[in-house]
C-alpha cells in the first residue's frame, strides 16, 4: 500500500503553511484554559491521552505495517505501573512527580520487547491474532492478580506536589498532559525521519530485500513494537495521572479497539493522522453521548463510511485534495457543494430515522401512548416534536432522502474513477525522490 504522504516532497510553500498551522494549533492549545470550561478541559486531557496512544499505535501500523489488535495491554500496564509509583511517592519515595509518565513508558517498553519478540515472528493476520492472544492472556492474569493490580476496584493514589508544581488542579493536569504529549510526538517525528525509521518502512514494503541488505528484520520489528508499546504506556501513565486511579478494566478489548478506530478514522498514512482521529472520536464520544443514546451506532456507521469511502482516513482525504491541486486541476467547487449538501441531508435523514425508531421502540413510549390516548405520541428530534404517524413527518423524511440521493447520484461513479486514477497514477509514476 503506497502512502501518498511519503512519496512526495512538500514544496517550501506547503512546508511553511503546515508549520504555521501547527504553531497556531499549539498556541491555541496552551491558551485553551482561558476560554474553556472544566468539562472541555477534561475532554482535551482525554484527547491528548488518546492522541498519544494512537501515535504510539501508529508507529506499528503506519511505519511497520503491522496492525495490532491488542494494544490495550501496554496502555493499561503503563497506567498500572504509574499508579503504583504514584502510591510509592505518596508513601514517601522521592521520585519526582513530573517524570511519572516515564515510569509507565519504561514498563510497557520492557514488556513490549518480550511481547514484540514473539508477535513479530509472524506477519499480517497471524501477527494480529498473536496480539489478540497476548492481550487476552494478560487480561486474565491481571484480573486475577488482585494483590498487585487491585482487581476491578483498582488502585487509587493522589498526585503529589513537586517543586513549584501543585498538580492539584485540572488546569495543572491539562498542561502536564499537553507538554508530555507534544514532547513525545516530536520525538516520534524525529524517529520517523531517522535512518531507523527508513529501514522500518523498508521492512514494511519489502522485508526480504531489507534482510538481504544485512539488517536483522526481526530485531528491528521487535524494537519498533517495544517503542510503540512504550509510547502507549506513557499515554496510560498520563491517564493514571489525571484519574488518580486505575483498574483492571483498562486491560479489556475496548481499549484496543478504540485506538484502532481512531487510527483508521484519522488515517494511518499521514504522520498526525491518528491525532485527528483520536480528537474526533474522543470529542464525539464525550459530547454526543449526552445528546443521543445511540451515539455508538453513529460512530459505527461513521467508521464504516470512512472505511468504504475514505480508506486512507480523513487526513488521507486531505492529502488527496492536495495532490489533486498539485496535479494542476482545480478543485471542482460545484461538485463539492453538491456532495456536501447531499451528505448533510443524508446524515440528517438517517439520524431522524434512527432516533425515531429508537424512541418508538422504548417501552416507555408504549406506556406514554397508552396513558395519553394518542396512538403515536410525538418524538423529539432536533428540538422539534415530530409525530411518527403524521404524513408531514413521513413525507418530509422521504423528501430529504430523495434530494440527497439525487445530489449524490451523479457524483458517485466519477469520484470512484478519480480514486482509482490517483491510486494508479501514483503507482505508475517513477519514484521521484522521497
Amino acid at each position: 500500500m503506497q502512502y501518498l504522504s511519503e512519496n512526495h516532497q512538500s514544496t517550501d510553500r506547503e512546508k511553511i503553511f503546515i508549520l504555521l498551522l501547527l504553531v497556531f494549533l499549539v498556541v491555541g492549545l496552551f491558551a485553551l484554559p482561558y476560554f474553556a470550561d472544566m468539562a472541555f478541559i477534561n475532554a482535551m486531557v482525554l484527547v491528548c491521552i488518546a492522541a498519544l496512544y494512537a501515535m504510539g499505535y501508529n508507529l506499528l501500523w503506519g511505519q511497520a505495517g503491522l496492525i495490532s489488535f491488542g494494544h490495550a495491554t501496554y496502555f493499561a500496564f503503563g497506567a498500572s505501573c504509574t499508579i503504583m509509583m504514584m502510591a510509592g511517592i505518596e508513601g514517601g519515595s522521592s521520585f519526582p512527580t513530573p517524570f511519572l509518565p516515564l515510569v509507565g513508558g519504561a514498563a510497557s517498553f520492557l514488556i513490549g520487547i518480550v511481547a514484540g519478540w514473539f508477535a513479530t515472528i509472524r506477519t499480517g493476520v497471524y501477527f494480529a491474532m498473536i496480539t489478540v492472544a497476548i492481550t487476552e492472556l494478560a487480561r486474565a492474569i491481571v484480573q486475577r492478580w488482585d494483590t498487585v493490580f487491585g482487581g476491578e476496584a483498582g488502585i487509587t493514589s493522589i498526585r503529589t506536589a513537586w517543586g513549584p508544581f501543585g498538580f492539584q488542579k485540572l488546569i495543572d493536569v491539562y498542561y502536564f498532559t499537553l507538554v508530555w504529549t507534544i514532547i513525545c510526538i516530536i520525538l516520534l517525528w524525529f524517529l520517523q525521519k531517522s535512518p531507523v525509521g527508513m529501514v522500518i518502512r523498508g521492512i514494511r514494503e519489502q522485508e526480504e530485500r531489507v534482510r538481504f541488505l544485512g539488517y536483522d528484520a526481526h530485531a528491528l520489528k521487535t524494537l519498533v513494537f517495544a517503542i510503540s508499546a512504550g509510547v502507549s504506556g506513557m499515554a496510560g501513565g498520563l491517564l493514571a495521572f489525571t484519574n488518580e486511579s486505575t483498574n483492571v478494566t483498562l486491560y479489556e478489548g475496548a481499549y484496543s479497539t478504540t485506538v484502532l478506530i481512531n487510527t483508521v478514522i484519522g488515517g494511518a498514512g499521514v504522520f498526525l493522522g491518528p491525532v485527528v482521529g483520536a480528537t474526533l472520536t474522543t470529542l464525539f464520544g464525550y459530547y454526543i453521548a449526552n445528546l443521543t443514546f445511540h451515539w455508538l451506532l453513529y460512530m459505527g456507521l461513521l467508521f464504516i463510511v470512512i472505511v468504504v469511502c475514505a480508506p486512507r482516513g480523513i487526513t488521507g482525504l486531505g492529502v488527496d485534495a492536495v495532490m489533486h491541486i498539485r496535479s494542476g486541476a482545480r478543485l471542482p467547487w460545484r461538485l463539492i457543494c453538491k456532495q456536501i449538501l447531499g451528505w448533510l441531508l443524508l446524515s440528517i435523514g438517517s439520524v431522524m430515522i434512527i432516533e425515531m425508531i429508537g424512541a418508538v421502540l422504548q417501552p416507555s413510549y408504549g406506556a406514554l401512548a397508552r396513558s395519553s390516548g394518542v396512538a403515536w405520541p410525538p418524538v423529539n428530534v432536533f428540538g422539534i416534536n415530530w409525530s411518527p404517524s403524521s404524513p408531514l413527518t413521513l413525507s418530509g423524511i422521504a423528501l430529504i432522502f430523495v434530494v440527497a440521493l439525487v445530489l449524490l447520484r451523479d457524483t458517485a461513479s466519477s469520484a470512484h474513477r478519480n480514486v482509482l486514477k490517483l491510486a494508479g497514477a501514483i503507482v505508475q509514476k517513477p519514484e521521484a525522490g522521497s
Binding site: 472544566m38 464525550y286 449526552n290 453513529y298 461513521l302 475514505a310 451528505w343 416507555s364 406506556a367
Partner: protein, 412 residues
C-alpha cells in the same frame, strides 16, 4: 467519493448537535450506564428515576419547584464515570445521583471525596443508588456519600433467614459466585451466616465473570456435594446459564439469588427459574393494595415493571426530595445541609419505612424473599411466572450493624 466523507462526518456532528439543543439544563444530574455492557441495569435505574421524579413533581415538587433529572451516560466504565462526574461538576451540579455497578460507583465516590478535600468550600453530594460493594460504606465511606441499596451481607442474611424460618434451606448449602469483589463478599457472607442459621457450607466456587459458557461442570460439583440450597449473587448471563444448566441436569437443589428479578432474566431462563428464590426490594404481591397500586403506576409511567434496581432509585429520590424539603429554601441545593437532613429523613416504602444510618450512610431497607412460581399474582417479563412472597423482612431484620471500619470526617 472521498471528499464527501469529511462532509458526512461534519453532517453527523451538526445533526447530533442540533438534537442536543432541545435538552434543557436541569438541577439534579444522574450518572447511569445507558450504553455499554451494563446498559440493561442502566435502563432499570432510568425507569425508577423517571417514575420517582414524576411522583415528586405530581406532589408539588420541592419548595414549589419542579425537579428534573439530567441523564449522563457513563457507558458502564470507570473512565466514563469520572468524565461524567467532571462534566456534572463543571456544569454546576451540587447533588449527583449515580446508578450502576460497584466499580464505577467506587471510582466516582473516590473522585467526589478528592474533589471535596481539594475544594472544601464547594463540596458535592453523591448518592449511590445501586452499588452493593461493602467497602463503600466501610473503609471508603465519607460524609458526602450515601448508599441507597443493600449489600452482600444484608442480602445473604435476608435469604438465609427467610428460608430457614420456612424450613426450606436444608442443612447443606453451596455457594457459587463470580470472582470479583461482589462475588467474594457474597461468598464470605454465606460462610459467616452458617453457624447462626445452622447450615453447613458444603462447597464454594468463585468463577470468571461473564466468561463461562457452560456451567455443567459446576452443576456436577454441586450435585456431588449433596447441597440442598445453592446461594448465588450471580447476575445477567452468569445467572442465566447457571440456571439453565441446573434445569437440564435435573439438579434438585433450590436456588437462592439476588438478581433473578432483573429484566430479561426470568424470560430468558424460562422454566429453569421455577422454584428459585430471590431477595429483592419489591415484590408486588407482598405489598398488598399499596404494592399493587405502585406496580400499576410504575407501569403506566414507564411501560416497565419495578424490579430490582429500579426500586433503589425510587427510594433514593423519595429520601432526597424529603431531605431537600426539610431544609430551608436557601439551602435547597446546599450539599452539607441536604446531607445532614438525609441522615435524619425517613421515606415511605411499600414494605416499610426506609431511612439512612448516620454512622456510615447505609440505607436501612426491608427486603422481600420471593419464590418464582406460576401461581404468583403478578407476572414478570411477559411470562406466566412471577414472584410469590415467602417472607417480608423489616429493615431492622435485614440490618447488618456497622463494624466500625467507617471513620467519617464530619463537617463542622
Amino acid at each position: 467519493m472521498k471528499k464527501k466523507s469529511i462532509i458526512h462526518v461534519a453532517g453527523i456532528f451538526v445533526s447530533a448537535m442540533l438534537i442536543g439543543s432541545a435538552i434543557a439544563q436541569t438541577q439534579i444530574d444522574v450518572i447511569l450506564p445507558i450504553t455499554g455492557p451494563t446498559a440493561g441495569t442502566g435502563e432499570l435505574f432510568k425507569n425508577g428515576v423517571d417514575f420517582a421524579f414524576g411522583e415528586a413533581n405530581d406532589a408539588g415538587g420541592v419548595h414549589g419547584q419542579k425537579i428534573a433529572p439530567r441523564f449522563l451516560d457513563d457507558g458502564g466504565t470507570t473512565q466514563g464515570g469520572t468524565d461524567r462526574l467532571r462534566q456534572a461538576i463543571s456544569g454546576g451540579a451540587k447533588i449527583i445521583l449515580q446508578g450502576g455497578g460497584s466499580a464505577v460507583a467506587a471510582a466516582i465516590s473516590a473522585d467526589v471525596k478528592r474533589w471535596n478535600e481539594r475544594n472544601p468550600d464547594n463540596p458535592v453530594l453523591l448518592i449511590m443508588m445501586g452499588a452493593e460493594a461493602a467497602q463503600l460504606t466501610k473503609k471508603d465511606c465519607h460524609f458526602y456519600a450515601f448508599r441507597t441499596s443493600t449489600n452482600a451481607d444484608m442480602r445473604v442474611k435476608a435469604l438465609v433467614k427467610a428460608l430457614s424460618e420456612n424450613n426450606r434451606i436444608g442443612s447443606k448449602v453451596f455457594a457459587i459466585n463470580q470472582d470479583y469483589s461482589w462475588g467474594r463478599e457474597m461468598d464470605a457472607a454465606v460462610k459467616e451466616n452458617a453457624a447462626p442459621y445452622k447450615y453447613q457450607v458444603v462447597g464454594s466456587v468463585l468463577h470468571d465473570v461473564n466468561k463461562i459458557q457452560d456451567f455443567s461442570p459446576y452443576v456436577e460439583r454441586i450435585r456431588e456435594s449433596g447441597a440442598e440450597t445453592v446461594i448465588t449473587g450471580n447476575w445477567a448471563r452468569d445467572l442465566l446459564l447457571l440456571m439453565q444448566s441446573v434445569a437440564s441436569a435435573n439438579l434438585k437443589a433450590k436456588f437462592a439469588t439476588v438478581f433473578l428479578d432483573e429484566k430479561g432474566n426470568i424470560a430468558s431462563a424460562g422454566r429453569a427459574a421455577i422454584g428459585s428464590y430471590v431477595a429483592t426490594p419489591f415484590v408486588a404481591e407482598a405489598g398488598g393494595a399499596e404494592g399493587e397500586a405502585y406496580l400499576k403506576k410504575f407501569n403506566e409511567k414507564t411501560g416497565a415493571n419495578p424490579v430490582s434496581a429500579g426500586n433503589n432509585a425510587v427510594i433514593a429520590i423519595r429520601l432526597l426530595s424529603r431531605a431537600i424539603a426539610a431544609v430551608p429554601d436557601k439551602d435547597m441545593l446546599n450539599p452539607t445541609a441536604v446531607a445532614l437532613a438525609l441522615e435524619k429523613t425517613t421515606a415511605p416504602w411499600v414494605h416499610g419505612e426506609v431511612s439512612i444510618r448516620a454512622e456510615d450512610h447505609q440505607l436501612r431497607l426491608p427486603l422481600v424473599v420471593g419464590e418464582v412460581s406460576t401461581e404468583a399474582k403478578f407476572k414478570l417479563d411477559g411470562t406466566d411466572m412471577g414472584l410469590k412472597p415467602v417472607k417480608t423482612l423489616t429493615a431492622a431484620e435485614t440490618e447488618v450493624l456497622p463494624d466500625g471500619s467507617c471513620q467519617m470526617q464530619r463537617p463542622k
